[in-house]
């Protein structure tokens, strides 16, 4: 049975144990040095120990260092950005709980500078919105073309809401104009699809393949073998050299390149329509893309078959997996376009499964910038 003395004694022990477990708060220190240590984090946890020590010091700072920490995300890898985000969030939580005001003016200045890391700017926006929600709301109309996809999405949502209100008010032309404005700026696939559907309901035409930048004209060759999934690593002749006049031994006879054009809204290249549905096979698709300048680009692929993608003969990425879902922009492959003609080769393998959901042998590919805006082929222009 517990006695009062024993309870007191246990309470003392509990407090002692509590303090024994609580980490001693670090003193604030040179923010720049701490940020540098955090930005050095690399693969497989390299730099974590130093970053962890630096983080304690950084997070011990006050709100005066908030925008310095956010600016530390500029050019940082996404892991380092998360370390810095957590430091900023910790400072904000602690200082806000102590009744100190967020530096709204500094955050606004940071937010307005679009050279800063887009995610850091979004964080600045959310902090501003906590203390000055009206100010944040007023900023959104100017963010239709913002490099932050999150800010842009909110800005586009406002315009979509305006389109809905215009239509509800009987002003169809205004509604269409607002939807067109939204479509021009939207980068998120779901927003684009929603707006396109609304515009079509209003009798408007929308060229989705062009808007997304899907590649619709291809040359296709196959089928080659894929017994035991070995077609994925096998190097068939089109991988060695693309010769559109070439003829090769395929899985069941001689194979040649044939033209393929897709009219699918989302650029689906359905290889089954070329050969009738096949299993345990490999095919290649080839196209050319004309760039008006040297520029970085993303090749964004959707594919539920095993695949490889080459740009100008360089393998961008490969994935040996079958029938585990597919969506637009499923894989984002960074590449570099050269001025003039660029070659794109896609390898798509089909496996042996016979279930209904394993019939598809297809892919969709678009060329865009890092925000998802279509880069049109100069040839198409």
């Amino acid at each position: 049975m517990f006695r009062p003395e024993l309870m007191k004694w246990l309470a003392v022990c509990g407090v002692a144990a509590l303090f024994g477990l609580r980490p001693v708060a670090a003193a604030p220190s040179d923010a720049a040095g701490a940020i540098q240590a955090i930005r050095a984090v690399g693969a497989e946890g390299r730099g974590n120990a130093a970053a962890s020590a630096a983080w304690k010091q950084l997070a011990a700072n006050g709100l005066d260092q908030l925008t310095t920490i956010l600016a530390g995300m500029d050019g940082a890898n996404d892991l380092a950005a998360n370390w810095l985000r957590a430091a900023a969030e910790t400072i904000v939580a602690r200082e806000s709980a102590a009744g100190r005001k967020l530096p709204a003016d500094d955050l606004l200045a940071f937010l307005r500078d679009t050279h800063h890391n887009p995610r850091a700017r979004r964080m600045a926006f959310e902090l501003v919105a906590r203390v000055q929600p009206d100010t944040a709301e007023k900023l959104l109309p100017g963010m239709m073309d913002d490099p932050s996809l999150e800010l842009r999405r909110d800005a586009v949502d406002r315009v979509i809401a305006a389109a809905v209100r215009a239509l509800d008010g009987g002003n169809k032309p205004e509604s269409i104009a607002r939807y067109r404005q939204a479509l021009q700026s939207a980068r998120d696939v779901d927003q684009i699809q929603d707006v396109a559907r609304k515009l079509r309901e209003l009798g408007e035409t929308v060229d989705l393949p062009k808007l997304f930048g899907f590649l619709t004209q291809w040359k296709i060759i196959g089928p080659f073998d894929n017994a035991d999934g070995k077609g994925f690593t096998a190097v068939f002749p089109p991988e060695q050299k693309v010769d559109l006049a070439g003829e090769y031994d395929g899985k069941t006879g001689k194979v040649r390149w044939s033209d393929y054009a897709t009219k699918d809204e989302f650029g689906m290249v359905d290889i089954n329509t070329v050969y009738t549905p096949l299993k345990i096979v490999t095919a290649y698709a080839y196209t050319e893309f004309v760039s008006d300048k040297a520029q970085p680009a993303e090749l964004r692929l959707g594919c539920k078959n095993a695949w490889k993608v080459w740009l100008n003969g360089k393998l961008l990425w490969e994935r040996d997996e079958y029938h585990r879902g597919m969506q637009i922009d499923q894989y984002r492959l960074a590449g570099q376009l050269q001025p003039g003609r660029n070659t794109i080769l896609v390898k798509a393998c089909q496996n042996e499964l016979v279930e209904k959901w394993t019939v598809e042998w297809q892919f969709q590919l678009r060329v865009c910038d890092h925000l998802g805006k279509a880069i049109p082929s100069a040839a198409a222009k």
Partner: protein, 418 residues
Amino acid sequence: MTKSTNHQSPITYYVLRIALIALCLAAARLPAADWMQFRGPHGNGVSDETDAPAALDAKSIAWTADLPGRGLSSPIVIGDRVIVTCSSGPRQERLHVLCFNAADGAKRWERQFWATGRTMTQSKTCVAAPTPVSDGRRIFAQFSSNDLICLDLDGNLLWLRGLTRDYPNASSSIGLSSSPVVVGDTIVVQVETDCDSFVAGIDTATGVNRWKTDRPHNRNWSSPVVFADKPGRQVVAIQGLGGVVTFLPATGETVWNRTNESANISSPAPGDGVLYVSAHGLVALQGDSDSPTPKELWRDFQLAAGTPSPLVMGDRVFTLGSKLCCGKVSTGERLWTLTVKGPFSSSPVAAGGKMYLANEKGVVRVVDVTKPEGGQILSELDLGQTILCTPAIANGALYIRSDAKLWKIVKPAAPQAP
């Protein structure tokens, strides 16, 4: 050489003694009443508590808290803290780790991160599918994007890993859900897909790999479990289409391996050194010191499970498919079945002879599983939202979450005397 001395003052003596006892109490601060990982302290769905709520109704809800995003992950409970993970945003790229007061549901802190890996999932699941784990001092939150986040109990960041950054093809387009476990100073993560797969032991202090082992390229959503395969030794077990493997957590060295196909959604359940695994029915496996393969103690095809993992409680093992089945752990003999409305994504949990079954429609049922003649539904509570998570039981309460809410469910307070 320094001579020992007994010249301590009485005050110093008592201070040292109190500190020593406090240290012992601190070490013992990993109480059985906490629920610090997927499927509880033993990884088999059972809490050691004896006093859990039986009669559920609307008054059983002690509090609810709003959540900022989706999640199939279970809450975990560390003392007076309830930890929950969520994912939000149009591409589920915002990851949340939240801490609530167990007493009143007030939010103590929240930390957000940006996903560094792929966030595509099948629509039913989401990026916050794996349940976080704690060693009592730290929280380790893994997401389907393969982000692994280590925080202290106050939300201070200790380290981060982006496992998809490190191993880019170890990702899935339909989502990952394996929940990590902690053994000593190693956290074990299991990331298995049709493309690249691995299991790794990661230093809890620094987030650096202690070891990493490639695994068969097979899709897998099950979670590792920790159990003592013999006195004084803890091993980690994982199952999947390639079979069941146990290994030493510190090194990854294989203890035993059984290559017969097993389920790749439900997780193994340990009990008294035996591992119960869904594999075309249920199979009971026990390590054999003379063999690299385990002994198959029994197999029973009637104890079939679906998505939920088996539950082991005393001398009974339970599986949940179209029915709740109860069998003997010694032989696999099926003792009784009980029809309970599903469907179930959530695994059953139990305490004090009462089992909690939460179906996808949001109905939580309490089943008395102590009667030899069969299970008896004691009560039910409709939470009105889709429930896919496995509940947690801690300190006399049940914690459960949806994509939008976290509930604490308790025994209704006894009416006060006038």
